[in-house]
Symmetry: C2
């Protein structure tokens, strides 16, 4: 935790935030905050980054009260929409974590031919069940701004309706480990939509439809990477000027 | 599995390789290889990439015999030595997987002040117990060449003896999320050693020693990434011209 994220429901009447549970334990055991020397980097959910100053500690009830001092804006978001074929639930968590720590604010997960249907029945396929993972990712990356998550169970709707709408006015790139793909571009700074396929790749018919939607196929060379590695590798390369 | 990796012990007297266990199950269930239509991408451990052609299947004993046809060299290795502070065992596996799929052929894991001592007692801290993970990474990335793994339990020895030796004749970069760090360089192609710190960062004394060893501090901006994300992000950016 590189930032203690304060949520709207933490606020008490006197303008002080009270934390408990996981955040209390972390503040107490890892950050070693106490009443005497209690200060850490903190942030308001969807708001400023600053300092949290301990006002009181109730060790018996595992509660800590902090005053928040705003200091700066959260780091800038990436102008990237990431759409990945739904991976297995554990990979889904890791992809969400990686993308959110890198500043992605709009994520889509969609069905495609080689996505196992059973993945859709995982409890992880729901924004509320990924929320804790998102909070951890924001705390990790010193960010406060919640991303939007979308799930689309129909490839036809995704490619014919969602994709044209989300990529309007920007670039549409399809990561596809194919010899015909162009090398992954670099130095982007404008609005970009990046579509990542399933572990087994797209079918020829899907490639056709993605191309018809205006997508450019991009590749990373002969090595084929797992989704959870490919996503940070692609984002890092596309936005290599963004610090 | 994007490549069926054939090991020296697979070879039978008649110049045919026999696989069983995990690789048999994958070849049979996922690749759906059979005697009638049996062919997949295959590679020799530390050797060529080519095709494996099924000669016979012994379903009762879960064994498959394949003839190997060499076709090309494995993808080029990265000229990178990666040294990471020993992470927790699960992260260690993921970092090894990510680095190996990206083509790293020399990996070091070292002790530093903020590495929990208990991590060293994990059975994962041994090359033989990471070998299966390495095979999976080679099979994923269509590569055949085993990387070298090193573990160094003494930071002093690492920074004073190992690091000068391994980085001689190349660049030494220290990933350190510090405002004084220079932005991560791009477009490298020569010999490079990249040192990644522990989750809690280096101590000021460690930074001093790493700098004294000739290291340049490099950063990725205000966001702090988990080791398993930082490693692919850094490698992707440093070697963005390598496809």
């Amino acid at each position: 935790m590189n930032l203690l994220l304060l949520h709207p429901e933490d606020w008490c009447d006197d303008g002080v935030a009270e934390i408990s549970g996981r955040r209390y334990v972390h503040a107490e055991e890892v950050l070693k905050l106490s009443q005497r020397s209690g200060e850490c980097r903190a942030g308001l959910l969807n708001g400023a980054v600053g300092r949290g100053i301990v006002e009181s500690v109730d060790a018996a009830n595992q509660r800590m009260r902090l005053r928040f001092v705003p200091e700066q804006e959260p780091p800038p978001p990436l102008p990237l929409i990431l759409a990945a074929a739904l991976p297995r639930p554990l990979t889904l968590r890791r992809v969400v974590h990686a993308a959110v720590t890198m500043g992605v604010k709009e994520l889509w997960f969609y069905q495609s031919w080689k996505v196992e249907k059973s993945y859709w029945s995982s409890p992880m396929v729901a924004e509320e069940n990924l929320r804790e993972q998102i909070f951890l990712a924001l705390e990790q990356s010193v960010d406060t701004v919640m991303p939007e998550l979308h799930f689309q169970r129909r490839f036809q709707t995704f490619v014919q309706e969602d994709l044209p709408r989300m990529s309007a006015g920007g670039e549409l790139l399809i990561a596809h480990p194919d010899p015909a793909a162009v090398p992954c571009p670099r130095g982007l700074s404008g609005k970009t939509t990046l579509v990542v396929g399933p572990e087994g790749g797209f079918t020829p018919r899907e490639v056709e439809q993605l191309t018809a939607a205006g997508g450019t196929m991009i590749g990373l060379g002969p090595r084929i990477l797992r989704t959870e590695v490919a996503v940070p590798v692609l984002i890092s390369r596309l936005f290599d000027g963004v610090q």
